[in-house]
C-alpha cells in the first residue's frame, strides 16, 4: 500500500520550499506546498478505499530503525479505523488550510518559509498518526512541537512572538518528560514499544484497583497528553500561541496538533481502561479545564484569544469523553471540533485580514454587510460549537455528555453549564464583530475566493459533519457508548439559551453587558486577567527556576565547577610545559646527545625483551 508515501509527500514539499523557496516564484511555492498535501490526501483516500472496511489493523513494515540487544525499534506504519479518522481530518482540513493560507499570507514576508514549516508540520503529524509504536509516535510528537514553535515565532521580529514560541516549547517539555517516562515504564513492563504487543499484553492484565504499574503509566501518559493538548496545569501555552499567523492557529493549535494528546490517549485505551484511577484523573482534569477556559473565554476582547480559550475548553470536553470511557465520543468530538474550530479560526483570520490586522473585538462591529460569506460561515461554525441541534457539535458534544452522565451525573451538569457558556462567548464574539455599527478605522473588505472557498467547505462540514457516524465506525475498537435523547436535548437547550443570552447582551440591549460586568466587578477582573495563572506560574515556577539557574547552575556549576576544572587543567598543563620547555635549548649537539641517549635506551630495552623471548 506504500503507506510511507503519505507522510513523504509533505516532506518533499518542505525540502523543495525550504531549500529553494527563496528563489522560487510564489506560484511554484504554492504548487509544491499545496500539491504535496493534495497528493498526500489523495493517497490517503486511495489507501482507505483499497483497504475497505478495515476490520483489522493494517500494518506495514518500512525498515528497522534501532537494533540493540532485546530492543528492536521498527519504523512501521499502521492504519486502523482510528488512524483512518485522523488521517482524513489531518490531510483534509490541512489541505483546506493550506489553500486558505495562499490568500492570507499573500502580503506577508517569509512566504516560502511559512509553507515550508507548514509542510514539515504535515509530515510530522502524519508520522504521529501512522506510527505503530510509541517511539515513532514520539518522533512525530516532538516534530509537530518543533513546527509549532517555529510557526508561533513566525513573526520573529516581534518580541511577543518569540516569547510565546519559547513558552509553548518549554511548557511542552514538561509534558514530553512525562511521556518519556511513560515510554520507559512501558518498555520495562512489556519489553516492547510496539502498539500491538503492548496493548495485547495490557488487555490480559487485571484491572488495577490502586496505583499499579498501568495506573502510573497512564498518569504519565496523561502528563504528556496534558502538555500537548493544553490541559490544566499545562494549558498556558496555547492562548499565547495565537501570536503565530492565523492559519497556523487553525491548523496546529485548533484542528490537529493539540488533538494529538486526545489521539494518543484513545490509542492507549487498552492501558487506560485497566487503570480506573487514571481514567478519573483524565475526566476531572478535562472537566476542570473545560470550565476554567470557558469562563476565561467569556471576557476576552481579542477575537483569537476567545477562540483559543474555546479550544482549550473543547479539548477539555474531549478529555472528559476519554476519561469516562467514551473514547469514540472523544474522537468524534475531535473530528467535528477540527471542522468548526478550524472554521472559526479561518473566519477570524478572514476578519483580521479584511481589517488589516485588527484583532480587537471592540474595534469591530457591523462587519456583516462588508464580508457576508465570512459572517455566514462563521455563524455556521458558531452554531456547531454551541451544539445547536443537528449541527456537528450537537452530536459529538452530546455523545460525550451522555457518557459523562452514565459515569457521574454531576459531570454532565457541569458540562452542560460549560456548553451554555461556550455558546454565549462564541456568539458574543460573533455579535460584537458582525452586528451593530463599525467601531474601527480600517476599511473592511471581503477576502478573495481562495480564502472564502475553504471557509464554505468547512461550513458545510461543520453543519453536516455530525452525520458521519464516528462512534459507530469505531465500535470494533472501543466500547459502545450510551444514548439518551432527553439529556441531549437538555444540553442543546442550554446551548440555545446561551446564544439567546448573548443576543440579549450584545444586540438587543447593548450596555447590559457592561453594567453586568460592573456589577460583578471582582469576578470580571479575575476572569479578564485569566485568573492570574500566568502571574502565579511566574512567581511560583519561573522566577525560582531562573534564580536557581542563575545562582546554582550558572555561577556554581557552570562557572565554578565546569569552568574551574577546564581552566585548572589548562593552567596545570602550562606549568608543566614551562618546566619541560627548558629542554628546548636550541643547541643542536644537545639534541643529538638526547637522540643517542634515547637510542641506547631503546636498544637496551629491545635487548631485554629479546632476551626474554
Amino acid at each position: 500500500m506504500y503507506l510511507w508515501l503519505i507522510p513523504i509527500f509533505p516532506l518533499l514539499g518542505f525540502l523543495l520550499n525550504g531549500l529553494f523557496g527563496r528563489r522560487l516564484p510564489k506560484s511554484l511555492v504554492n504548487l509544491f506546498a499545496i500539491g504535496s498535501v493534495a497528493l498526500s490526501f489523495a493517497w490517503v483516500v486511495k489507501t482507505l478505499l483499497a483497504l475497505g472496511p478495515l476490520e483489522t489493523k493494517y500494518v506495514e513494515h518500512c525498515f528497522t530503525w534501532i537494533q540493540s540487544g532485546a530492543l528492536q525499534m521498527n519504523v512501521d506504519f499502521a492504519i486502523d479505523r482510528l488512524t483512518a479518522v485522523m488521517l482524513m481530518v489531518v490531510t483534509g482540513v490541512g489541505l483546506l488550510i493550506h489553500i486558505y493560507s495562499v490568500g492570507y499570507m499573500a502580503d506577508e514576508g517569509g512566504y516560502y518559509r511559512f509553507f515550508a514549516y507548514l509542510n514539515l508540520f504535515m509530515f510530522f503529524m502524519l508520522v504521529l498518526v501512522l506510527a505503530q509504536n510509541f517511539l515513532l509516535l514520539f518522533v512525530g510528537w516532538e516534530g509537530v512541537g518543533l513546527c509549532s514553535y517555529l510557526l508561533i515565532g513566525f513573526y520573529f521580529l516581534e518580541n511577543f512572538a518569540t516569547t510565546a514560541g519559547n513558552k509553548a516549547f518549554i511548557v511542552n517539555r514538561i509534558g514530553d518528560f512525562g511521556f518519556s517516562l511513560a515510554m520507559f515504564m512501558i518498555f520495562r513492563q512489556f519489553g516492547s514499544l510496539d502498539f500491538t504487543k503492548v496493548f495485547d499484553a495490557a488487555k490480559n492484565m487485571p484491572t488495577e484497583a490502586g496505583y499499579g504499574t498501568l495506573t502510573i503509566i497512564s498518569l504519565l501518559l496523561l502528563v504528556g497528553a496534558a502538555g500537548k493538548s493544553a490541559q490544566i496545569p499545562l494549558y498556558v501555552w496555547l492562548p499565547d500561541a495565537m501570536a503565530g499567523p492565523t492559519p497556523v492557529s487553525a491548523l496546529i493549535h485548533a484542528a490537529t496538533m493539540v488533538t494529538a494528546g486526545v489521539y494518543m490517549t484513545a490509542r492507549s485505551s487498552a492501558i487506560f481502561t485497566h487503570a480506573p484511577i487514571a481514567m478519573d484523573w483524565v475526566a476531572i482534569i478535562g472537566l476542570a479545564t473545560a470550565v476554567l477556559a470557558a469562563t476565561i473565554g467569556l471576557a476576552q476582547t481579542d477575537i483569537k484569544k476567545v477562540f483559543a480559550y474555546s479550544t482549550v475548553s473543547q479539548l477539555g470536553y474531549m478529555f472528559v469523553g476519554l476519561g469516562v470511557g467514551a473514547f469514540s465520543a472523544g474522537v468524534f468530538h475531535l473530528m467535528t471540533h477540527a471542522f468548526f474550530k478550524a472554521l472559526l479560526f479561518l473566519g477570524a483570520g478572514a476578519v483580521i485580514h479584511g481589517l488589516h490586522g485588527e484583532q480587537d473585538l471592540r474595534q469591530m462591529g457591523g462587519l456583516f454587510k462588508h464580508m457576508r460569506i465570512t459572517a455566514i460561515t462563521l455563524l455556521c461554525a458558531s452554531f456547531a460549537i454551541s451544539g445547536f441541534p443537528f449541527t456537528s457539535g450537537f452530536f459529538s458534544k452530546d455523545a460525550i455528555l451522555v457518557a459523562a452522565y452514565a459515569r457521574a451525573p454531576w459531570m454532565y451538569w457541569v458540562g452542560v453549564v460549560t456548553a451554555g457558556m461556550t455558546a454565549f462567548y462564541v456568539f458574543r464574539a460573533w455579535f460584537l464583530a458582525f452586528t451593530g455599527d463599525y467601531r474601527g478605522h480600517a476599511h473592511p473588505h471581503e477576502s478573495p475566493l481562495v480564502m472564502t472557498g475553504p471557509l464554505m467547505l468547512l461550513a458545510v462540514l461543520s453543519i453536516f459533519g455530525g452525520f458521519i457516524n464516528i462512534p459507530h465506525w469505531l465500535e470494533p475498537m472501543f466500547a459502545e457508548t450510551a444514548e439518551n435523547q432527553t439529556l441531549a436535548w437538555i444540553s442543546a437547550g442550554v446551548g440555545v439559551a446561551g446564544i439567546l443570552l448573548a443576543y440579549v447582551f450584545y444586540v438587543a440591549k447593548r450596555g447590559l453587558a457592561d453594567s453586568f460586568a460592573k456589577a460583578m466587578n471582582g469576578f470580571y477582573t479575575l476572569v479578564f486577567n485569566k485568573y492570574y495563572v500566568d502571574e502565579i506560574y511566574n512567581a511560583v515556577v519561573v522566577r525560582p527556576l531562573l534564580a536557581i539557574s542563575r545562582v546554582v547552575l550558572w555561577k556554581g556549576v557552570d562557572a565554578g565547577l565546569i569552568d574551574g576544572t577546564v581552566n585548572g587543567v589548562g593552567s596545570r598543563s602550562r606549568g608543566i610545559g614551562g618546566i619541560l620547555r627548558l629542554l628546548q635549548s636550541g643547541n643542536i649537539r644537545t639534541y643529538a646527545a638526547w637522540v643517542v641517549l634515547g637510542s641506547i635506551v631503546a636498544l637496551i630495552a629491545i635487548g631485554f625483551a629479546g632476551g626474554r623471548r
Binding site: 620547555r581 628546548q584 635549548s585 636550541g586 643547541n587 643542536i588 649537539r589 643529538a592 646527545a593
Partner: protein, 103 residues
C-alpha cells in the same frame, strides 16, 4: 667478497664507522664536519644492509641502500644550501652559535 672473511667483520666495521659518525656528530662544532658525520653514519648503515643482503642472498638490502643513497644525495643538496645560507647570514659555521630556535 671472499668467503673467508666472516660476516661479523663487516658488521664490526660498520659499527665502528657508525660510532665515529655519532661521535663526530656530537663533538665536532663545525657544521660541515657534522654534516660529513651524518654521511658517515648513513654509509655505515648502508654497509650493514649490503652485508646482510649478500649473506641472505636477498636483493632487499641492495634496494634499501640505493634508497639511502638517493636520500643522502637529496639531503646533501638541501643541507649544503642551508649551510651556505647560514654562513651568508652569520659569517660563522660554529654550530653552537646557531641556537636561536630555543624556548
Amino acid at each position: 667478497m671472499p668467503a673467508s672473511v666472516p660476516i661479523s667483520w663487516y658488521l664490526i666495521l660498520s659499527a665502528i664507522l657508525f660510532g665515529l659518525g655519532v661521535a663526530g656528530f656530537i663533538y665536532r662544532r663545525n657544521i660541515i664536519t657534522v654534516f660529513m658525520s651524518i654521511e658517515l653514519m648513513l654509509n655505515a648503515v648502508n654497509l650493514t644492509f649490503i652485508t646482510f643482503s649478500y649473506t641472505l642472498k636477498k636483493v632487499d638490502g641492495h634496494i634499501f641502500s640505493f634508497f639511502v643513497m638517493v636520500v643522502a644525495a637529496a639531503e646533501a643538496a638541501v643541507g649544503l644550501a642551508i649551510i651556505l645560507t647560514v654562513f651568508k647570514n652569520r659569517q660563522t659555521l660554529m654550530i653552537d652559535d646557531v641556537s636561536s630556535m630555543k624556548y
